[in-house]
């Protein structure tokens, strides 16, 4: 049960303003059953009563977080391998962060400095290209670690995973639309990948908010300028599902980004170019038909010079 051209309806956080129901009506998502993925909520997975109150469609959670917990409890070999991979990913991220810090400082200084326009522009381009090179390298290393794990533990050949994947396929066969909630974006992506959902969801309509929207992109970029210890440099944490290539989504940007720091925002935009960086604040909406933007409301994209402009559908 799959639509001809799948829709991707992306929303910002569903607090304090809830726009899920209105957005679904606006985009013509029918009233058929919906499969929910709330693994980003971790132990609160499946607490979807609040969501159910907003929509008429029957909802059923695919429980991919709990399925993983059950697998870990039953399969020490899988659990140990998963932990080992996570330890290596953490180490990889630490080393990336260490190198990133210095390149970011250099790039910010280069963007702030004055001088002969041609000379400065060339140095800025180079500083940003170094950042991109590090990002590419890191993404490659992260992907290697995932692939090493996936070779042994995948839904095609690892029996326990296959059983769950079959159950998930069965549930998905009865729905045209999947709904992916926010939450912990890394946990969410890891669990999606474990059950091959990055492939299995491709043909479905997907409604997603915040972290759920981030995982649809080809790269997942973590960001938060307002942590208790101050701003942190944005980090690529890994690949997403790749359903919306060329887009970096920034949920809750109004609360997480220092929008007035033009140099910082400009650097953000230029570092991830040619991808388009788009905000998804509370109340905003982006609708894609396959990979084509069809509708938007209150979402903004960051321009090359660090300004925020409304996203307009073609």
């Amino acid at each position: 049960m799959s639509p001809e051209t799948p829709l991707r309806l992306l929303l910002g956080p569903q607090r304090p303003v809830v726009n899920l129901g209105d957005a679904m009506a606006r985009c013509g998502i029918g009233d058929g059953p919906i499969g929910v993925i709330s693994a980003g909520w971790q132990e609160a997975e499946g607490d979807i009563d609040d969501v159910q109150r907003l929509v008429q469609n029957p909802l059923s959670d695919l429980r991919i977080y709990q399925r993983t917990e059950d697998l870990f409890a039953a399969d020490k070999c899988l659990h140990d391998a998963y932990r080992l991979r996570q330890d290596r990913l953490i180490e990889q991220q630490r080393l990336y962060r260490m190198r990133l810090k210095h390149l970011m400082v250099a790039a910010r200084h280069t963007l702030r400095t004055e001088g002969g326009p041609a000379v400065v522009a060339a140095e800025r381009r180079h500083a940003i290209s170094q950042l991109r090179a590090l990002d590419r390298h890191h993404l490659g290393q992260v992907e290697k670690l995932h692939r090493r794990f996936d070779r042994e533990f995948n839904t095609d050949s690892y029996a326990r995973l296959s059983e769950h994947a079959a159950a998930i396929d069965d549930a998905l066969s009865r729905v045209e639309t999947a709904l992916v909630t926010g939450g912990n974006v890394v946990v969410l992506m890891n669990r999606l990948r474990l059950f091959g959902l990055d492939r299995r969801l491709r043909s479905k309509n997907i409604i997603a908010w915040s972290a759920g929207a981030m995982v649809l992109c080809d790269r997942i970029v973590l960001f938060h300028d307002l942590m208790p210890q101050g701003r942190r440099d944005p980090e690529i944490v890994g690949k997403g599902m790749g359903l919306l290539p060329g887009i970096v989504l920034l949920p809750d940007a109004a609360k997480r980004l220092r929008a007035k720091d033009l140099v910082r925002i400009e650097l953000f935009s230029r570092r991830f170019a040619p991808a388009s960086c788009m905000t998804l604040d509370n109340g905003s909406l982006l609708l894609f038909e396959a990979e084509t933007l069809r509708d938007s409301d209150a979402a903004k994209r960051i321009t090359r010079n660090g300004k925020f402009r409304r996203v307009r559908a073609a």
Partner: protein, 378 residues
């Protein structure tokens, strides 16, 4: 003179009704930029401002405003300062320390309460206030049988609102834990920081010593109690993450000494320390002058300064600029950093008190135990 008082005296001696109106209209003490004016009304012989601030006189006299029963004194407080104080009121042979009758803001501590002056630029952090959105964790008692102290000791344990017995949690051990709950709103702070994802869900052991000046002053028995008795008891009773990286020791004043001492005596046991206004007294030569209660502290600190080792991977230290211990705290920083400790030191325009310690908890805890805010997009 403060503008409100100048206005009161503009037309000469004010009527009692004008004074009543002033006292009803204004918040006290009167804060006008860095100038803070304390006001007392009463028929007395003498009034002094008593605040235990290193750098200020311990007793600052008030002046009587002629023709009135008002007494005033003004001090200069740098931006962002917060001080605690009392009024010393003298009538005949009677000399009494009282709270500022015109100021309802007080801070309680184990010895009673003080009035609080929130200087220009100081705002109580909102994360120290009850947030109805934040789910409340729970407190439960736990008995710890101690062969070191030859008695059973009751401690309190904080469990986060999202506690699940099948998950594992980092452990925070808090010296003077009950005082932290009472006087530094620790439970509210934990609930709020966990709710905001600024720290992870954490299990907190709140310990309280019956003889803290002795046991917390560099006493090996206390270090053994923590490592050999409390840690195993906590591990038996609760699902804790393994390893020093998931264990943090915290304390203020002598509690800071106890935390540092235990980590120094048993390196590799605690990955991080939160030390607030630690009573880190030492002597470079001759005898120290802080009294006999500090003898064991000075012995330990002198030994630690000779051989700091690496008590923990990460240490967050804070101290008020208006406490005499600022010198000792500042001087400890390079000793520990030189041994490769990842150390952050925060100074505050405050003194040796619980609200100073409360106000530093967010930066300290979130640095030592960063929460998942970075990864969570709700």
């Amino acid at each position: 003179m403060n503008p409100a008082l100048r206005k009161l005296l503009r037309k000469g001696t004010p009527e009692p009704a004008d004074i009543d109106a002033l006292l009803a209209e204004q918040d006290f003490p009167l804060v006008d930029g860095p100038d803070v004016t304390f006001v007392f009304r009463g028929t007395v012989d003498e009034v002094n401002l008593r605040c235990w601030i290193s750098g200020l006189d311990t007793a600052q006299p008030f002046q009587a405003l002629p023709g009135t029963d008002l007494w005033v004194t003004t001090i200069e407080l740098p931006k962002g300062s917060r001080i605690e104080y009392k009024f010393e009121v003298v009538t005949g042979d009677s000399r009494e320390l009282i709270l500022d009758p015109l100021n309802g803001v007080i801070a309680e501590d184990p010895f009673g309460a003080n009035s609080v002056c929130q200087g220009f630029g100081y705002v109580r952090p909102e994360w120290t206030l009850h947030d109805p959105q934040a789910r409340a964790g729970s407190l439960q008692s736990l008995q710890v049988d101690s062969s070191v102290f030859r008695e059973s000791r009751e401690i309190q344990v904080y469990l986060p609102a999202t506690f699940r017995s099948n998950r594992r949690y980092p452990l925070l051990i808090v010296h003077d834990g009950i005082d932290y709950l009472r006087y530094a709103d620790l439970k509210i702070v934990l609930d709020n920081l966990i709710h905001r994802l600024e720290i992870p869900s954490v299990i907190v052991a709140l310990i309280q010593s019956p003889d803290r000046l002795k046991e917390y002053g560099g006493d090996d028995r206390h270090a053994r109690f923590l490592v050999d008795e409390l840690l195993p008891r906590m591990s038996d009773a609760f699902p804790l993450l393994d390893g020093p990286g998931a264990r943090c020791l915290m304390g203020a004043s002598f509690g800071g000494v106890a935390a540092l001492h235990a980590a120094w005596r048993f390196p590799e046991q605690f990955g991080s320390l939160l030390l607030q206004s630690g009573s880190f007294a030492f002597s470079d030569i001759g005898r120290h002058r802080r009294g006999p209660v500090f003898d064991s502290v000075v012995r330990f600190m002198n030994e630690l300064r000779e051989q700091p080792g690496r008590p923990a991977e990460r240490i967050f230290m804070s101290c008020g600029m208006y406490e005499s211990l600022i010198y000792e705290n500042r001087s400890l920083v390079p000793h520990l950093q030189s041994k490769g400790v990842d150390l952050r030191f925060e100074e505050a325009r405050d003194a040796h008190n619980w609200q100073n310690w409360r106000d530093r908890l967010r930066t300290g805890l979130s640095w030592l135990m960063p929460g998942p805010a970075w990864l969570v997009y709700e």
